[in-house]
């Protein structure tokens, strides 16, 4: 194995740096979509109406029970068949978002079930509306245990973004494969991509710990 530092710094690093924003964009947007869609799925899941809660549960199981790559291909190749043509990056964000929404929904649900029954009863005795009860009483108390879990999914999504290279999204992994096949040198391209991922996921983990501390500080006293 021979490592070419000049090639690394003149070709690999600049070209990979140029696509870092795509990876970050895909991660952040997918995560936001997962947070919002996951909340919606969870609310459907815990609906007292069985005609709503049962299908919602089945959808969550279906999404969790099939590989992400299969879902991405499914969206990528089937959406155009029904007339929906999205750019690859958008398709990737939607796919990552939906998959992780199903995971987030279960995290939310566990957080909500963790709030003692007495809190619901006190809210009811004070005649608070269902909406207010969730907003002011239940959700704030369910946050401390779910924030670390959601943070893990954030980092998980980040590490899943290389799957988007299968959709020809110009993210880190895709760029490193291109460099490799252009110059017939994969060692530097793949290694540098790996280092980039490591640095960014360490930064993301620090960010998650910071957010966790902030939320704990605000909610637990």
């Amino acid at each position: 194995m021979n490592w070419d530092w000049q090639f690394t710094f003149e070709v690999v690093v600049p070209r990979l740096l140029a696509v870092v924003p795509v990876t970050i964009q895909a991660t952040v947007l997918s995560f936001l979509l997962a947070l919002v869609l996951g909340l919606a799925l969870m609310l459907l899941r815990i609906s007292p109406l069985r005609v709503i809660s049962i299908p919602a549960g089945e959808i969550i199981e279906f999404i969790r029970g099939t590989p992400l790559l299969v879902q991405l291909f499914f969206l990528f190749f089937l959406l155009p068949e029904i007339g929906i043509v999205l750019p690859p990056l958008t398709t990737g964000i939607v796919g990552l978002g939906i998959y992780n929404a199903a995971l987030c929904a279960e995290v939310y649900r566990a957080g909500i079930l963790n709030v003692p029954a007495g809190q619901w009863e006190a809210a009811k005795a004070l005649n608070l509306s269902a909406c207010r009860t969730y907003r002011d009483i239940i959700i704030p108390q369910s946050l401390p245990p779910i924030v670390p879990a959601l943070g893990n999914y954030f980092i998980g999504i980040f590490k899943e973004t290389p799957l988007l290279s299968f959709l020809a999204v110009a993210e880190l992994m895709h760029a490193s494969k291109l460099i490799g096949s252009e110059y017939y040198r994969f060692t530097e391209a793949v290694t540098v991509a790996g280092v980039f991922f490591l640095v960014m996921s360490l930064a993301a983990a620090a960010l998650v710990r910071f957010a966790e501390g902030r939320i704990r500080g605000r909610i637990l006293h």
Binding site: G118, L126, N127, L128, S129, P140, Q141, I219, L220
Partner: protein
């Protein structure tokens, strides 16, 4: 004859095969303080819980001020109550729980203004003023910005009482308000309830094991056992010389233990 403030008309509650409330009937007059005593697990707490709508009932009707509560009048008949109907009448009832159930992420003050603002629709300033008055009344004026975890059990229960009062209820339910307290804190909570009973016109329903307190403050004491009100009467009479055999046994055990 005055209209009862609360009326239980053959109310039945079952948990699976277990009948917790068996066709109970009870009329409570406006301003009356009724204490329910009875063995643990007899279902006396359930009487309060169905009245607060924390539990649904399987049969019978509860009336508030003569108006059906768990049902509503539709034409000549009684139909299942709508959410709006239940919320309208539920606004007249406040409840104090055995385990306080304060909101742990809110200060004492915020606990007392949350519902007045969002449920009664009071302006924040007014809600704060009234909450301060109530916290002062229960002897916690200086502790408004403390969180529940920074308060003793007795203080938490007094915040919970202020929180219930902040909703301006006409009916107050106390579910074993001192059972979760250390003995030295029981007195301060009972004193607040005593003050409420003497100085205000609330209709109060109290479940307790404090027999001395029941005798002192109650207008009427009801002995509840095996899903029914077995005997009721003025406190001296029921606690002094109960006619019912089970009531006699229960009271002799309770009084022995003291």
């Amino acid at each position: 004859m005055t209209q009862p403030k609360i009326k239980f008309d053959r109310v039945t509650k079952r948990y699976g095969p277990l009948t917790v409330l068996n066709q109970i009937c009870l009329d409570i007059d406006p301003g009356e303080l009724v204490t329910i005593i009875g063995p643990s697990g007899s279902g006396k707490t359930t009487v309060l819980r169905v009245l607060m709508t924390l539990e649904s009932i399987d049969d019978g009707v509860i009336y508030i001020d003569g108006e059906p509560f768990n049902k509503m009048r539709a034409g000549g008949a009684l139909a299942p109550a709508s959410n709006a109907h239940i919320r309208r009448l539920r606004a007249r009832i406040g409840m104090v729980f055995q385990n306080f159930n304060l909101f742990p992420h809110m200060s004492a003050l915020d606990n007392c203004i949350e519902a007045p603002i969002h449920s009664l629709g009071l302006a924040r300033g007014e809600a704060v003023n009234r909450a301060d008055e109530l916290l002062d009344m229960v002897g916690l004026a200086g502790l408004r910005s403390r969180y529940p975890s920074q308060l003793s059990g007795g203080q938490q229960q007094r915040v919970a009482i202020a929180r219930a009062l902040a909703m301006q209820p006409e009916i107050l339910l106390f579910d074993e308000p001192t059972s979760a307290l250390d003995p030295e804190m029981v007195g301060e909570v009972l004193q607040v309830i005593r003050d409420l009973a003497s100085a205000h016109s609330y209709t109060m329903l109290l479940v307790t094991h404090q027999m001395g307190f029941a005798r002192e403050v109650s207008d009427r004491v009801c002995f509840f056992d095996a899903g029914q009100f077995v005997e009721q009467g003025p406190p001296q009479e029921l606690l002094g010389s109960p006619k019912n055999e089970r009531a006699r046994q229960f009271l002799s055990k309770v009084l022995e233990a003291r």
